[in-house]
Amino acid sequence: MITKDEVNHIASIAKLKIKDDEISLFTEKFDQVMSFVQKIKEVDTENVEPTYKINDEDGFLKENGESQTLTREEVLRNTVDTQYGYFKILKVVE
């Protein structure tokens, strides 16, 4: 059973906030889903290697590829605030 506290903890790692009036319902649905996936625990996976990549080809390396470098206008066009060619955010308290 997943608790509201756990949900809040996971939310803080994921940089999300579940509103107080939604937390009960969210936790309930979240718990449904998480208990649903617990079924895989019954599978015997001893001596089974994990599959990270589904086809059998090796990864490749890049060499002398075409540059995709953007203009500064393109780099900054979708952000809220800029200054002197930088992205700008309010100073953040560490």
Partner: protein
């Protein structure tokens, strides 16, 4: 002649014979959009001006007698999670409501290279998470076959646009069935190619080890044409395969001697009580048999863990793939923040919808310290077992037949509130992504006036087998 009602390959033939022009093709589709889009809402953005310009350029090429690409003059819809340079790309999220990419996805470059006409960006479940296109920030897309039911999802807009003749062909993305299931619900053909067949560069990832760009067409040949136009090795995508690319004949395809596997697990699981759907499927199997196919029941014992495996792996990947959406370099930024933590948390909380948040949360949980081994790492191992089951099946079978979805297209607002039920509807499509296989959904009949799709699954890089089988089936039923 109503051009927009033709198949894409018919449009292309007439274009090459100069019976119609590229501009005429486009205009015909724009007329359809003008008359039905209000009801269907397949698009988030329609790009009339640029489409018209490209159509004219294609006509000029024809006039000059230049050779044309395989997609020449065809109006194409792109799921709005595929980046288009200088054209808004939203992923159906408030997060990217105003995002204008400075670059093209590789599939977009390929379409341009092949003289295709990008007509617009289609609706989807937010960040491709969902099976009904109901989680979109831009409203629901309706099913052209019946406006009361969902078009399926997450590529609901791309499927609906093709089914409603708003575009000739389209692209979606398929992580656990997001192309095949809406194809099934909208009564059209949808292909989920082998992992590595189509470049993922410039396609917003949902679950990067499962995602693949899929193709929609009103018939098998159209979907195949779309695949031909966008596949090929891409040096910008590290997961792109050197075996990528398709080129084979359809005309001589037949079902005779085709070795078909039917997983007994699907027979036994009985996900739905809908006997009518099963009946349609049984009749289809009989038809295959009549046409000379060899049907055998096989066992893939780990299929019954596919959904759980899928939801753990996909949400784990979702949680990290969506981390880049932090409100700093692009995307929605909250106005009220004083600390860095508030900047992140409030931007993400205000901009993501409920399903996106739930999956990010699930994935964060599955990856967090202490749970990682029993969830994420365990799921990766079960994935190996599922893959092994398939590998064994394909040793002596050509394709696997199944339903695409165990349920009919459902009314709006019906199962969206029950995530587990909605996830269960993906039972037939999800394992294909886990094993990186190719599969296609194509119409095989109707129940209560709603389309029912069949799924043909093939081994990795065996697109020719599933597409040829689908084509042969289509010829028989026509």
């Amino acid at each position: 002649m109503d051009i927009a009602k033709l198949k894409a390959w018919e449009m292309r033939e007439k274009l090459l014979k100069k019976e119609i022009s590229s501009t005429e093709i486009l205009k015909s589709h724009l007329e359809v959009i003008d008359s039905v889009e209000m009801d269907i809402n397949a698009f988030i953005t329609v790009d009339r001006e640029n489409a018209m310009e490209t159509a004219k350029l294609v006509d000029e090429k024809i006039a000059r007698g230049e050779s044309l690409g395989v997609l020449a003059g065809l109006p194409i819809g792109l799921k709005d999670n595929i980046m288009t340079k200088d054209l808004r790309t939203t992923c159906a999220s408030k997060m990217l409501e105003n995002f204008i990419p400075p670059f093209d996805a590789t599939v977009v470059r390929n379409i341009r290279r092949e003289d295709g006409i990008i007509l617009g960006k289609t609706n989807l479940d937010e960040f491709a998470m969902g099976g009904s296109t109901e989680t979109s920030y831009f409203g629901n897309t309706k099913n052209p076959k019946n406006l009361e039911v969902v078009p399926g999802g997450s590529s609901g807009g791309s499927a609906a646009a093709v089914a409603a003749n708003e575009v000739a062909i389209s692209l979606g993305s398929d992580t656990g069935g997001s192309v095949r299931q809406p194809a099934s619900y909208c009564g059209i053909v949808g292909i989920k190619p082998t992992y590595g067949m189509v470049s993922r560069y410039g396609v917003m990832p949902m679950s990067n080890s499962l995602d693949q760009v899929g193709q929609f067409g009103r018939d098998v040949r159209d979907a195949y044409l779309m695949l031909k136009g966008v596949s090929g090795f891409d040096p910008l995508d590290g997961t792109s395969s050197h075996k990528s690319g398709v080129n084979f004949e359809l005309e001589n395809a037949s079902l005779k001697g085709l070795k078909i596997a039917l997983p007994i697990e699907y027979r036994d699981l009985r996900v739905t009580g809908d006997e009518k759907i099963r009946e349609v499927f049984d009749n289809t199997v009989k038809l295959f048999e009549r046409e000379g196919a060899i049907i055998q029941y096989v066992s893939l014992p780990h299929l019954k863990y596919a959904l759980e495996t899928y939801y753990i792996i996909s949400t784990a990947e979702v949680s990290t793939n969506l981390s880049r959406l932090d409100g700093i370099r692009y995307g929605y930024r909250t106005e009220n923040y004083e600390t860095l933590d508030e900047l992140y948390t409030m931007s993400r909380t205000e901009a993501f919808g409920e399903e996106a948040k739930r999956r990010i949360m699930m994935g964060t949980y599955a990856l967090s310290a202490g749970y990682q081994d029993e969830h994420y790492k365990k799921a990766l191992k079960v994935r190996t077992l599922i893959k092994n089951d398939y590998d064994k099946t394909f040793e002596d079978h050509d394709v696997i037949l199944s339903l695409t979805s165990p349920i009919l297209p459902f009314p709006f607002d019906s199962i969206i509130n029950s995530p587990v039920d909605m996830y269960k509807a993906d039972l037939y499509t999800v394992p294909v992504n886990l094993a990186g296989l190719c599969a296609m959904s194509l119409p095989m009949g109707e129940v209560d006036g709603l389309p029912v799709g069949m799924q043909i699954t093939g081994n990795r890089f065996q697109e020719s087998k599933i597409i040829r089988a689908g084509y042969a089936f289509e010829k028989v039923v026509k």
